[in-house]
């Protein structure tokens, strides 16, 4: 058996010449199609350069614009020439000047001999595979495309839009089921002859002339009517990015290509000297019969596409700057915002850190400085505790903080006395869970020992700020998980809430609370709040705190054995 190679060339003629020689050295007759857009001088020079090779022919030249019929016409004339001129050819391989054989031709021929009567061509129905970039899959077969996509993008789009609008649909030739796939195939002589000599070919050609990107569908569809056995895969390794443009292989992909076991790869960077020197490379004796295995290549490139399309969540940098209106996730990992708890439990921060093992910060947004966990001045990654720096761009401060230690679960205290620039960011972030005990700011005011008349203004200010925050948290744009309870509600059953918080932060590692944090002594709080009311300042966010609520809590704490003041 003999393998014949059709080579489409339009640029990088020095490399193309090298490739022609590679194929010819392997004993393959080569039919070359040079794009008609190529300058005559360049063309003549190229023809002259390989005139020493006996089994090389040149097909009549068509104009090959991307996505147009010219490409199919080129392969048709080249294939006809191949079949006529070289009767010994049993398989025809379609390649381009940027396709490089990775394994010797003999191994490829042996592979084809092991799969007799098989056509290797990627061919999938459009109904089943959403491959295409740009959204035109089914429609590329049912609309007409009079304008070149590359040159007249606007006219192209307009024509499509118009046809969609009036509901235009072309009739398909009878019996034809549209299939698509990689344009690089390897067909048997028999199949190729059947396609080229089909009496209905003029009708098919007429139809495909106005299909969009016919080089990815002409042979892919017709082969289904003539082939005895279709192996729907391309023997040419080609990878595409998210826009459908081919990835380029560089010198440092050498090992990857060696391991892939593929016969041919594209596109090779034209100056990848190492690759051109290394390949084709005979396989190790035990690997001569190896099937191509593209697993590693596939993984690498699909990772790249994913990286390009989604990026690393929670990272803001020069080439990734998602708008918060279009992204639900603003930070790199989940975190908890706790408002009011440290007012009620003076030692809350230490207690929570001990119970959960999480990274528990103090008031990150305090006005005096940033209170990082463990009170450090510089947090991971060089985050400064300077409040001006933080307030200059609070959102970036938070995303940086969490990105820098994204393996941890962060918790931080928040309150109406802190700077409030971060509120909307917190509310819009799905990674945030926000716990608010409303009115808890009254506890430190009460404990300060100052009279109601002295703290009245301060209480009113804090209440106003907290109320504003609550409004944000109740707005329909909120994506964070929010739990709001009043001080009165919380004091009635604090342990239930704390247990939920700990379960959420520590996950399966969370255990039943054996030791409760010490609550501030709030006996007399009810009277203090009543005093505030008497002053005309109604602390409505605290809920209804009466002497009784406070007492209930005290009784509870005595009754339940696991609530013991800190060891």
């Amino acid at each position: 058996m003999t393998l014949g190679v059709i080579m489409l060339v339009h640029t990088a003629f020095d490399r193309a010449e090298q490739m022609v020689r590679r194929w010819a050295e392997g004993g393959c007759p080569v039919v070359i199609h040079v794009d008609r857009n190529v300058e005559p001088a360049t063309h003549d020079h190229f023809v002259h350069a390989i005139s020493d090779l006996p089994d090389v022919r040149f097909a009549s030249r068509s104009r090959c614009e991307w996505g147009t019929w010219g490409l199919v016409e080129a392969t048709q004339s080249a294939a006809t020439l191949m079949l006529d001129e070289f009767p010994s050819v049993s398989h025809v391989y379609l390649a381009s000047g940027a396709c490089m054989p990775l394994r010797p031709v003999s191994e490829l021929e042996a592979y084809l001999a092991r799969h007799p009567d098989t056509d290797f061509i990627e061919s999938a129905t459009t109904a089943d595979v959403p491959w295409t970039v740009g959204g035109l899959d089914r429609e590329r077969f049912t609309l007409r495309f009079p304008f070149a996509w590359k040159k007249n993008r606007k006219l192209f789009d307009l024509a499509v839009r118009l046809q969609q609008l009036v509901g235009y649909r072309r009739a398909l030739p009878e019996g034809l089921v549209p299939h698509m796939g990689s344009q690089w195939w390897c067909l048997t002589r028999q199949t190729l002859e059947a396609i080229l000599q089909d009496p209905k070919r003029p009708a098919y050609d007429r139809y495909f002339k106005s299909v969009w990107i016919p080089d990815e569908s002409y042979y892919q569809s017709l082969v289904r009517m003539h082939a005895r056995r279709v192996e729907s895969k391309s023997l040419t390794l080609a990878k595409f990015d998210h826009q459908g443009k081919p990835h380029i292989f560089f010198d440092d992909h050498l090992e990857l290509l060696q391991r892939s076991g593929c016969f041919v790869a594209r596109k090779i960077w034209r100056d990848a000297e190492l690759l051109f020197q290394t390949f084709p490379q005979p396989s190790a004796p035990d690997q001569i019969d190896a099937e191509p295995n593209t697993g590693a290549v596939d993984r690498l490139f699909s990772q790249a596409v994913e990286r390009r399309t989604y990026g690393r969540p929670g990272l803001f940098m020069q080439s990734r700057f998602p708008s918060s209106d279009r992204q639900a996730v603003l930070t790199a990992s989940p975190y908890a915002v706790l408002q009011g708890f440290d007012d009620i439990f003076p030692d809350f921060q230490r207690w929570l850190a001990r119970r959960t093992g999480a990274e528990v910060h103090g008031h990150l947004f305090a006005r005096d400085r940033v209170h990082f966990a463990d009170g450090v001045e510089l947090y991971r990654g060089g985050l400064s505790d300077h409040p001006r720096l933080r307030d200059y761009n609070p959102k970036m401060f938070l995303t940086n903080l969490i990105w820098n230690a994204r393996e941890k679960h962060h918790c931080f205290q928040f309150g109406p006395a802190d700077s409030q620039g971060i509120c909307w960011t917190l509310a819009k972030d799905t990674n945030a869970s926000i716990w608010v005990v409303t009115g808890a700011w009254s506890v430190p005011l009460f404990l300060s020992g100052r009279s109601a008349s002295e703290v009245r203004a301060e209480a009113a200010r804090l209440q106003r700020i907290e109320n504003k925050f609550l409004k944000v948290l109740r707005s329909p744009q909120v994506r964070a998980r929010v739990r709001i309870m009043s001080l009165a509600e919380f004091v009635e059953a604090p342990m239930d809430v704390l247990q939920t918080i700990i379960d959420e932060i520590a996950g399966h590692k969370g255990r039943a609370i054996s030791e409760a944090p010490r609550m501030a002594d709030i006996e007399g709080l009810a009277a203090f709040l009543q005093d505030l009311k008497n002053q005309g300042m109604h602390p409505f966010l605290t809920g209804d705190i009466t002497a009784l609520t406070v007492q209930t809590r005290r009784r509870q704490s005595r009754r339940k054995p696991y609530i013991v003041a800190g060891k």
Binding site: F250, D252, W269, A304, M317, R320, L378
Partner: protein, 345 residues
């Protein structure tokens, strides 16, 4: 890809204003063309696919040997230098290099927009159609996998992606001890002396007028500008551009016109490939240089703020802290999130 209105496109009239702004810059560059005089002209060696480098230098004899070796290895084939009155033999050194064309200017660095007018004229004359790298002598460009792939790989890849610019963030490198406490000899790799950087304190936002990502932060802000974050140095740059006569840098290489050259990010969270400029400002000679800056008053804002900044630099403070990151190659910057691979595989 066009910039969407979210990136602050100032509307039709704004676009028109920007167009005129760009023309004014080009006119200014043309008007100032006589401020530089050619010393050595080897531009006839430039081939069609040459990658060019443009830089203004003043007393950089210490950095230039490594700088040239580094960029030659990276694939730069021709260097354009404007020497601004060096007194340490910089001009003599450059004159002897086979791939350097040298100009001289005795005019004010500050009034030439920190050399951008001079380089602008050279870019206009020689850059058209080439990939051009515009960097200072203390900036070393890195990008993902740059150890295995040179600029010819990168630029031809950018060509296939139809990108005509490549962004890089400045990363200040510093030593472990006090500034000035280590030694550096000409030709050494500066990352051996300065091996540390701040990895996670950079702030990005979108510049409302020019539409670029505006990045501030890093060690200089942490140590010197905590009180005035709005004054802290801008770190985003677009050093590598397939040049066109109509392009112009606006403020250093931080911003340029037309705006689409900043289009290295998008609002959906997609990530393009990007690089970094290793900034070797804090080599031991910083003390000397800062003293000179105080004298010369040619830098960005001549405020007391900057005087204090230079005074502290001259006194040899320590920038290192225990969470500083150790630079052991470009991969490290990718892991920290300072640059990204995108679909550059």
């Amino acid at each position: 890809m066009a910039l969407s209105s979210d990136k602050g496109l100032p509307g039709l009239s704004g676009a028109y204003r920007l167009r005129w702004k760009r023309r004014r810059f080009l006119f200014r560059i043309w008007r100032k063309r006589h401020e530089i005089t050619s010393i050595v002209d080897r531009t006839s060696d430039i081939r069609r696919d040459s990658i060019l480098l443009f830089s203004t230098v003043r007393n950089e004899a210490l950095r230039l040997p490594f700088f040239l070796a580094y960029y030659r290895k990276l694939g730069v084939t021709h260097f354009f230098f404007v020497d601004n009155e060096s007194s340490d033999g910089t001009a003599e050194f450059l004159r002897q290099q086979p791939d350097v064309s040298l100009w001289h200017s005795a005019h004010s660095y500050r009034l030439s927009r920190f050399g951008m007018d001079w380089l602008g004229w050279l870019l206009w004359q020689f850059g058209h159609g080439h990939w051009c790298l515009t960097v200072d002598a203390d900036e070393l460009l890195v990008y993902p996998d740059c150890e295995a792939r040179d600029l010819r790989n990168l630029t031809s890849w950018l060509d296939t992606k139809q990108r005509s610019s490549f962004g890089a963030v400045m990363v200040d490198l510093y030593p472990k001890g006090p500034l000035g406490g280590s030694s550096y000899r000409a030709g050494d790799d500066p990352t051996e002396t300065l091996s540390w950087f701040d990895q996670g304190n950079y702030r990005s936002s979108i510049h409302a007028y020019y539409g670029n990502t505006w990045i501030q932060g890093g060690v200089r802000e942490r140590v010197f500008f905590s009180d005035q974050p709005e004054r802290s140095p801008t770190l985003n740059k677009t050093p590598l551009v397939r040049w066109n006569r109509r392009y112009t840098y606006v403020s250093s290489t931080h911003q340029m016109l037309p705006r689409h050259l900043h289009d290295s990010f998008d609002l959906e969270g997609k990530t393009k490939a990007s690089g970094a400029l290793l900034h070797t400002k804090f080599l031991p000679i910083i003390a000397e240089k800062s003293a000179e800056e105080l004298e010369r008053k040619q830098h960005f804002q001549n405020t007391t703020l900057y005087q204090d900044y230079h005074r502290r630099l001259a006194s040899g403070i320590t920038l290192w802290h225990k969470d500083a990151a150790y630079y052991d190659g470009p991969q490290k910057l990718v892991e920290c999130g300072l640059m990204s691979k995108g679909d550059w595989v």
